[in-house]
């Protein structure tokens, strides 16, 4: 019983500490705000408290967010006064007295001492009390207290909201600072924004560049679709090739690529032609003009072209052209042409 009473007492004391802190917030002057701030910072250092809050919150604890709720002084102090009798109701009278005494002492004493006392108590009390302590630190409303305690400035709701908004902005900025490399060295909002803009631009360029690379690769792949136009003939023609893997997209581009790369050896006057396709179309006549196929071309691909030679590519041009015009973007064909010229 004695232990229970002691527990109750310490609990009361603790509640009162919180109350005192809340009350003190309202009639503080600037130099005491530092102490308040440290106290609240301490409250928020209990990560598990907010979780316990929901389950362990007793009736007295409910009033605590009320206290934090007040944006103007009248409502806050009103909440506190309403709460006090309720808190003392179930306590023994001497405990109630000690409550009052304790509170009066706190209000008159230096707030740094109060904060220290609060910490001391917090280490003593059980989890339930901790949960109650944490309740003002939990939730949206305490943002106001937190911000107000730190800045020690205007307390009207507008500037409080403004401060919260600014908090969020700087939080975002800090987050962006982590995201953007080299941004942490830059000080000042403008420099950071500059850095962020540059970074976003460079990322956009990088994405553009990479997709251009892939698109430059793709026209070769899009031979698939061209081949679909006369796929059967080509397949029949290329049938003897054992390892060209015609079913695979990468395998499919091999014949066409090969034809392009054999052009230099073919001594064909295609350099003046503005379109890569024409080179491709010309290349089938390579074997016919004298069979200057390089031996490095490999057996299967060479045979493929040899087979292609007259039969397939003679009927191809119209199909190819109609297919190609649809397939090639200007950039892609330009790129292809450029590279072909490079190879030559």
């Amino acid at each position: 019983m004695a232990q229970c009473g002691g527990d109750l007492l310490s609990r009361r004391l603790h509640q009162e500490t919180v109350e005192g802190l809340c009350q003190g917030l309202l009639d503080l002057d600037d130099d005491k705000l530092g102490a308040m701030c440290s106290a609240f910072g301490y409250l928020q250092e209990w990560p598990d408290l907010s979780a316990m809050c929901g389950t362990n919150l007793g009736a007295p604890g409910v009033a605590a967010p009320d206290a934090g709720n007040g944006n103007d002084d009248s409502s806050c102090s009103g909440g506190l006064r309403k709460r006090k009798p309720e808190a003392c109701l179930d306590a023994k009278s001497d405990h109630g007295d000690s409550c009052k005494r304790q509170r009066g002492k706190q209000q008159s004493s230096d707030l740094g001492e109060v904060a220290g006392k609060g910490k001391q108590e917090r280490t003593k009390v059980g989890t339930k009390k901790k949960a109650e302590v944490a309740s003002p630190a939990d939730g949206q409303k305490t943002d106001y207290i937190h911000v107000r305690a730190r800045r020690g400035q205007a307390t009207d709701s507008h500037s409080l909201a403004e401060r919260v908004r600014r908090e969020r902005i700087s939080e975002r900025m800090r987050y962006l600072q982590e995201l953007v490399p080299g941004c942490s060295k830059v000080t000042g909002k403008a420099g950071m924004l500059d850095e962020i803009i540059n970074y976003v631009q460079s990322l956009q360029k990088q994405v553009e560049f990479l997709s251009m690379k892939i698109a430059a690769y793709n026209p070769v792949v899009s031979f698939d679709i061209v081949e679909d136009l006369f796929g059967r003939q080509l397949k029949q023609a290329c049938n003897p090739a054992p390892s060209t893997a015609m079913a695979l997209p990468t395998g499919q581009l091999e014949p066409s690529c090969l034809q392009m790369s054999t052009i230099p050896q073919g001594h064909l006057p295609v350099c003046s032609s503005g379109f890569g396709l024409e080179m491709v179309l010309n290349s089938p006549y390579l074997p016919a003009t004298g069979g200057q196929m390089p031996p490095a071309a490999g057996g299967s691909n060479a045979s493929c072209i040899n087979v292609n030679g007259a039969a397939v590519w003679d009927i191809a041009p119209q199909n190819l052209f109609s297919g190609f015009d649809a397939q090639f973007q200007p950039v892609e064909s330009d790129c292809l042409l450029e590279n072909l010229k490079m190879e030559m």
Partner: protein, 89 residues
């Protein structure tokens, strides 16, 4: 408040606003619905965060695709040669 900031940071609000709108123009979605400057700054920064993340993802994805394409090519094949020359350009 703003005067204090400008004296401290040595930059005017107009410059900040200019940068903010510049950033806004870079973002794909937010450029359409131009909010009331300062009020949407939080949202803008949030969008910038997610946009940078999506760009990161896109770059990763594209380079994965490119390296996949490269790895599926036979290194000696003329096709790979062409791809390599494309990448060099």
């Amino acid at each position: 408040m703003s005067s204090r900031r400008s004296s401290r940071g040595n930059i005017s609000d107009e410059e900040i606003n200019e940068l903010i709108s510049k950033l806004q123009a870079l973002l794909p979605a937010s450029s359409r619905r131009r909010g009331s400057g300062q009020a949407s700054t939080t949202k803008l920064l949030k969008e910038t965060c997610s946009y940078i993340k999506s760009l990161h993802r896109e770059v990763d994805d594209l380079s994965d695709r490119l390296s996949d394409l490269m790895s599926t090519m036979d290194h000696n094949s003329p096709g790979a040669e062409i791809i390599r020359s494309i990448l060099r350009s």
